[in-house]
Amino acid sequence: MSAQSPDTLTASEMAHAHPNPHAHGDGHDHGTRRTYLIGFALSVILTAIPFWLVMGDVIADRTIATLLIMAFGVAQIFVHMVYFLHMNTKSEGGWTMMAAIFTIIVIVIALSGSLWVMFHLNTNMMPGHTMNPADMI
């Protein structure tokens, strides 16, 4: 795996470059044909299985099927992040990973918070639940 492609830097840039070229800039890593093909094969498998589960009505229990499909989706997202987006703990001095972890935390809070709050709101505000105006005071 070529960690750093020298042809992105001109000769003068190379000469003046920071002692540690990974400190600035070109700390990304592009992967190789092999890693791209591994990522592609994994994502084909991780896409085909959930489609087969749903289109073939393989699992009768819908809760289990839903959880399985979500697990395949999460696994495939990780495959894409590693093999196609080349995420690792070292690129850009670790800041891409930091930004991604922060984003994932915000996403988890936003998604779980919204679903949790709105589920309770829906349960308590069902049309059948007509409230007595006297109770609202």
Partner: protein, 209 residues
């Protein structure tokens, strides 16, 4: 070099960083673009949250089983997945300085993106013909906003791809073009990641609901 402890104001040496901090051109472009992608991720997170909350509110209108055509979704997913690997091949050829095959792979990627976009638009057209318009129910509003935002991103990705193909054809694989190809690569793979969420949550889980 004097130790920092014994400096008086008069003879305090002043240090200027002249050579030690040479930033190569475009050094911060990639991390900046990554931060943009993360913020874009948050837009999609809120749209997914909206869909999660409203996805079951059909208002006695059509539900996913009546509307979604899974074989069609499977074909568009395949197109997008293939476009990810063809973009990867374009990146590898670009690193080896092969301009012609980079352009060919980028064009194939663009065509696969166009196939995906065409299928999404066909699906939208078909749904609107059946009366499943965004204003029909909260489920359909959330669906059109989420899938529509993704399709809009793919549209801009294709426009960017066409621009890049033109730029590389005219100016070659210069460093500026390389960094653009790398940024579009992140954007393109990011859209594929979002699509994994869409087909899992909207289409597959919608059919199981």
């Amino acid at each position: 070099m004097s130790s920092p402890a014994n400096t008086t104001t008069a003879d305090a040496p002043e240090f200027y960083e002249i050579v030690a901090h040479d930033h190569p051109a475009h050094a911060s472009t990639q991390i900046g673009f990554w931060i943009y992608l993360m913020s874009d991720c948050l837009i999609f997170a809120s749209l997914f949250a909206i869909y999660g909350v409203l996805g079951g509110s059909f208002a006695a209108g059509p539900s996913p089983e009546h509307l979604f055509n899974l074989p069609l979704v499977a074909v568009s997913t395949t197109a997008l997945l293939l476009s990810s690997i063809t973009y990867g091949f374009a990146m590898l050829d670009m690193d080896e300085g092969k301009q012609k095959s980079t352009l060919i792979w980028l064009s194939i990627t663009g065509l696969l993106g166009a196939v995906f976009l065409g299928l999404t638009l066909y699906e939208f057209y078909h749904m609107i013909q059946e009366g499943a318009v965004p204003q029909r129910s909260a489920f359909l509003s959330a669906f059109f906003v989420l899938v529509g935002t993704h399709a809009l991103h793919v549209t801009f990705g294709i426009l960017w791809l066409i621009t890049l193909v033109a730029q590389i054809s005219m100016k070659g694989l210069i460093p500026a073009n390389k960094i653009r190809v790398q940024c579009l690569s992140m954007f393109w793979h990011f859209l594929d990641v979002i699509w994994i969420g869409v087909f899992t949550v909207v289409y597959l889980m919608g059919m199981l609901r």
